[in-house]
């Protein structure tokens, strides 16, 4: 078995003096979906930012395809094939939908129109609203813009921080379907989710974080079946 596409290995660090992450490991295998769940404030977003180089880790390593990228800037990681959809402020509100996607492709010098068509095929509503300012869209549509923007670089790994936050259950199911569709094209997905049960159902691998530490790590199905995980994190 080859190693994971992307791994944040034994990461320790935080925003300032106090560590938020303690020896925390998250990883995703090629073409798979890895899901991070855990209570609010557990450090899920912090772990994602650490993997993307948006905060310094004191100990541990981040490796992409086996190469150490711990020292790379976020922009350099984008160029290496990583893409990140942050939990909040993940669109350019005054730019149109189309311009948001163009900005996602900013680093690309080739013709990105086919990629944009693929994004429109994935999220057809965005094609209809392409000339509208992204800030005027509904919550679910904005999340589609955010994911679409990240896909424009044709990443090999897509990192999503709570892509279904604040959307209705129907839209949520729809978004999960789309995310599975993206994973089927061979893009590895590392995702944080509030809706732990649904997320673990589609996950190849699941991580339960508590207070910046790995509490449980297993396949999605195994975590769903684990009585202790069910009791503490899935509401019975």
């Amino acid at each position: 078995m080859s190693g994971p596409v992307l791994i944040g290995d034994a990461m320790t660090g935080g925003y300032g003096a106090a560590d938020i992450l303690h020896d925390c490991t998250i990883a995703v295998e090629k073409g798979q979906i890895a899901v991070i769940v855990g209570p609010n404030g557990a450090g899920k977003s912090t772990a994602m930012k650490a993997v993307f180089g948006m905060l310094n880790i004191r100990e541990g390593q981040v490796r992409l395809n086996g190469r150490d990228i711990t020292k790379l800037t976020p922009q350099a990681r984008v160029a290496q094939g990583m893409a990140f959809v942050p939990q909040t402020s993940n669109i350019f509100p005054s730019l149109t939908v189309e311009e948001n996607l163009e900005m996602g492709a900013f680093l690309r010098r080739d013709d990105f129109r086919t990629t944009m068509e693929q994004v429109f095929d994935l999220f057809p509503i965005l094609r209809d609203k392409r000339r509208q300012a992204a800030g005027e869209l509904s919550g679910g549509q904005r999340q589609q813009v955010a994911v679409g923007r990240a896909l424009m670089t044709q990443p090999s790994v897509l990192m999503l921080d709570e892509p279904t936050a604040g959307v209705s259950p129907i839209v949520m199911d729809e978004l999960f379907d789309r995310i599975i569709e993206v994973a089927r094209t061979g893009i590895s997905i590392l995702m944080v989710e509030q809706n732990a049960r649904q997320a673990l159902e589609i996950a190849d691998k699941g991580y339960v974080l508590v207070q910046g530490r790995n509490r449980f790590t297993d396949t999605g199905q195994a975590l769903l079946a684990d009585p202790e995980v069910r009791r503490s994190f899935l509401g019975g």
């Binding site: 993307f52 942050p86 350019f92 163009e102 680093l107």
Partner: protein
């Protein structure tokens, strides 16, 4: 009752001058609003940046005039504009490298950058006075009028006259061209879009691979170009004096804030709004009313709301009203 003469009178003393002055303010406010929207601070040095750039344009104009190079009926200053733009762009980039960049790298609060810009303002002000002196400079040449009051009267046969000075005509045309070019740049080019993206969401711009240093540089170059054009047009219209340019800060900021700081469309609307308010409130309406009211009803006084000496009070009043009742401005810019 003579509405046609009343209108011509109004056009000559209020509409045309306010259109020209409004264009100058709009260009100035566009520079301020770009810097605010993208670099996230109010640049109080903008007025003196205008003075610096205009000074270079004037010096270049004098050199060109001495060499006998001109544009015929158009002012030679138009030929000197690019030199002024390059000079001010280099000056602004130097200020970025030596002052603003230092604070930006420390991720200071915007107010610290504002304070730094006041320092840059004083230094720039000193440099300009040192080089060209504090006094008035006239550098308008070429034809003075597109049409004069006398020509208009002979052509129309009206009692009242209307003049369009070359400087006013050029101001309106150049401002229009510059605004269209700016909007084209911001909305159609890759660099322009990346600047708007950076202004919208700096962190996400970084995540998209947009180079912040380049955005900052291009912003200064654009702001410099707008400042030089605004300053030169104002100078051609009303003459150049360093202190006047410092004073222009107030109406320019009023314009940018009325429109909504960070919103280019708002800066343009704000520029004209401030100019028209200033002109109508300080205009003596006596003769205008004389044309419209029945014989013998003409008011005794000047029918002037505020003396011209108090024109800055108009900008100030607009500024205060907007900040109290609609701090984000008419076009919903970023809250101040």
């Amino acid at each position: 009752m003579d509405p046609i003469n009343a209108f011509v009178l109004l056009a000559n003393f209020v509409l045309v001058p306010a259109l020209a002055y409004g264009s100058q303010l709009a260009l100035g406010a566009l520079g301020v609003t770009l810097v605010y929207g993208i670099l996230r601070f109010s640049n109080f040095a903008h007025g003196d940046f205008m003075a610096f750039g205009t000074m270079v344009v004037i010096l270049t104009t004098w050199v060109l005039q001495a060499a006998g190079i001109g544009l015929g009926v158009l002012p030679t200053a138009l030929l000197a504009l690019p030199v002024g733009i390059v000079a001010l762009a280099l000056y602004a980039l130097a200020a970025e490298k030596l002052v603003f960049g230092f604070y930006r790298r420390q991720r200071v609060k915007p107010v610290v950058l504002v304070m730094a810009s006041i320092g840059v303002m004083f230094v720039t002000n000193g440099i300009v006075r040192l080089i060209i002196g504090p006094g008035d400079q006239r550098f308008e040449d070429g034809g003075r009028f597109i049409f004069s009051v006398r020509e208009f009267r002979e052509w129309s046969g009206l009692a009242e006259g209307l003049a369009l000075r070359t400087a006013q005509g050029i101001t309106i045309v150049v401002a229009l061209v510059v605004m269209v070019a700016l909007f084209w740049f911001l909305n159609r080019t890759r660099t322009g879009k990346s600047m708007r993206a950076f202004s919208d969401n700096e962190d996400l711009a970084l995540l998209s691979g947009i180079n912040p240093d380049r955005v900052v540089r291009v912003t200064w170059i654009l702001a410099a170009a707008l400042a030089v054009v605004a300053g030169t047009l104002y100078g051609l219209d009303k003459g150049f004096r360093p202190f006047t340019y410092f004073q222009l800060l107030l109406p320019i900021f009023a314009a940018a804030i009325v429109g909504g700081l960070g919103n280019p469309m708002g800066a343009i609307a704000g520029g004209y709004l401030v100019a028209f308010s200033e002109m109508t409130i300080t205009y003596a309406w006596r003769r205008f009313l004389g044309h419209l009211l029945p014989e013998g009803w003409t008011p005794e006084g000047l029918a002037q709301i505020l003396s011209v000496d108090y024109k800055f009070a108009v900008s100030f009043a607009i500024l205060v009203l907007v900040l109290i009742f609609r701090p984000t401005g008419l076009f919903r810019g970023k809250a101040v």
